[in-house]
């Protein structure tokens, strides 16, 4: 049996904390980017993503992702943390329960991506169902394919920390849900032009942005699941890609609109982080910077196209940031990976595998999420009534105000 490495144990525990704090990042970013009448609703969605997501992942999700050696899906024998002790996890010099903890933190982030895209109009109960299904079954299935020894792992598909497994999965589920939900009242003018619906607090969004950014060190470097020479590479590529994404999005929006734009700069940074998530361990710092620069450009156009062309309303840009840039990052492995990239080695096979894996993920997650969203819509109802939406979800669904004071009484 492998001996536990204490330094690895410590790192993965700390990385779990860093990933965990991303939930606060999502909660504050999404709250800041939406209207105050829906703040309690956003926060309750984020809180229950953590609660319900963790619960179902504990019950069944982890087992589906990481037990057994099926090509398509894992088994049930690790359900309820059955057999997960402080003994090493497989070949890792890491206690199994530390591995479990890290994975549990990861799992819930996929669902939280959806919460941003469906904000300000989804029923709380409907969201709970989507979240539970996503974290219990859909995310674990893809995780099994890619990280759990499934068919994509077999084929050499590379997704270091989850551009596909976490971000694209969350992004495509967000796309499907936002599509079925339809846009918020007032999002499109009568002639179908997208209108801006400003959020309510840039400071809150800033807190979110920085917490997500710092959490990404845990997300990406933590995915090494050990402390070794790779950590510095991963952390540096991660950071530089974020810088690149912020830089190009800042400049591009400035050029397009005549003024620099805070929200889009934030989206650019996040796009850079999502894009580097798959290739962070495989590329050089310079390629990382390029991946980020491209991500920042992609996100600016993607946000626009998704609204203007596809008439899909995504209040925080989750589909563009996580879905599209998750895809970009996944392909970027095939382009720039030092040992297998098209531009670095001239070989196209890695890129093909990456495209296959990204495509397969889309083909599983998107239709399934559509079915779930439609199913909920037809049964319990997916969207709140017009009156509730206009009044805000906080007072209606939760009987609460995020800022309950009128007078400083």
């Amino acid at each position: 049996m492998i001996e536990i490495s204490y330094v690895d144990t410590l790192w993965v525990l700390i990385a779990s904390s860093l990933v965990f704090i991303m939930h606060l990042g999502f909660a504050t970013l999404e709250s800041g980017f939406t209207r105050s009448k829906n703040t309690v609703s956003i926060i309750m969605k984020n809180l229950s993503t953590v609660i319900v997501g963790s619960l179902v992942f504990f019950i069944i999700g982890f087992s589906i992702a990481f037990s057994g050696d099926g090509a398509l899906i894992g088994g049930v024998n690790l359900a309820f943390m059955n057999g997960i002790t402080s003994a090493p996890w497989g070949d890792l010099a890491l206690p199994s329960n530390v591995f479990f903890l890290f994975q549990m933190m990861f799992a819930a982030t996929a669902a939280t991506i959806v919460s941003g895209a469906v904000a300000e109009r989804i029923k709380f109960t409907a969201y709970l169902v989507i979240c539970a299904l996503l974290v219990a079954f859909i995310y674990p299935t893809i995780a099994h394919w890619i990280w759990g020894g499934g068919w994509l792992a077999e084929r050499g598909f590379l997704d270091f920390a989850g551009s596909t497994v976490v971000h694209s999965v969350g992004g495509w589920a967000a796309l499907a849900s936002a599509f079925v939900l339809g846009p918020r009242i007032g999002k499109f003018s009568h002639d179908g032009k997208p209108l801006a619906i400003a959020g309510h607090d840039i400071g809150l969004a800033t807190i979110g942005l920085f917490l997500l950014w710092v959490g990404w060190f845990g997300f990406n470097a933590g995915s090494e699941l050990a402390v070794n020479e790779m950590l510095g590479t991963i952390a540096t590529t991660t950071y530089l890609s974020a810088v690149g994404g912020g830089f190009s999005a800042l400049l591009l929006t400035w050029k397009r609109n005549g003024k620099p734009d805070t929200g889009m700069t934030m989206n650019g940074i996040l796009a850079g982080l999502v894009a580097i998530t798959a290739p962070c361990a495989f590329v050089t710092p310079l390629w990382a910077m390029l991946i980020g620069l491209v991500a920042g450009v992609i996100v600016v156009y993607a946000v626009d196209i998704i609204e203007s062309r596809f008439k899909i309303d995504d209040p925080v840009g989750a589909i563009s940031v996580h879905g599209i840039n998750g895809l970009w990052g996944t392909l970027a492995v095939g382009l720039f990976a030092s040992e297998s990239g098209l531009l670095t080695t001239g070989s196209v096979s890695q890129l093909a595998t990456q495209a296959l894996g990204a495509g397969a993920t889309f083909l599983l997650v998107f239709p399934l999420s559509l079915i779930i969203a439609y199913g909920i819509d037809k049964s319990m109802g997916l969207r709140v009534s017009e009156t509730i939406e206009l009044r805000g979800l906080d007072t209606t669904e939760f009987g609460a105000d995020a800022y309950p004071e009128f007078v400083r009484e």
Partner: protein
């Protein structure tokens, strides 16, 4: 000149504003207020305990116009602010003796020049 003060539901503001715009009534001053009327208040909860809020969020529109336009404006507001449920609001009309535009320092007789 008359002053029309209309207390309406916050969520109807966009609609009312649009309707007024269509009829060419642009000038207005809007205030965030709280109000109580026959609508008895609503229930909220806080850390598990329910409580009543009797002053509910409302929007007060203040529009100063010539007397002859009052009816049209009032009708437009009545139409566009209406939901039929308690809490739709009230309109108060009173007199304004003088209106002066700061930029031109001129007195106005008509609010839409």
């Amino acid at each position: 000149m008359k002053k029309i003060e209309a207390v309406i539901r916050p969520e109807r503001l966009d609609h009312v504003k649009g309707a007024l715009e269509e009829m060419g009534c642009l000038g207005m001053t809007v205030t965030e207020v709280r109000g109580r009327g026959s609508q008895g208040g609503i229930e909220r909860q806080w850390r598990g305990r329910k409580y009543r809020v009797d002053l509910l969020p409302k929007i007060k529109l203040c529009i100063v116009i010539e007397e002859k336009q009052v009816k049209a404006v009032v009708d437009t507001i009545l139409e566009s602010a209406y939901t039929g449920e308690i809490g739709d609001g009230k309109i108060f009309i009173s007199s304004v003796e003088q209106v002066i535009r700061v930029r031109t320092k001129e007195e106005e007789g008509s609010h839409n020049e």
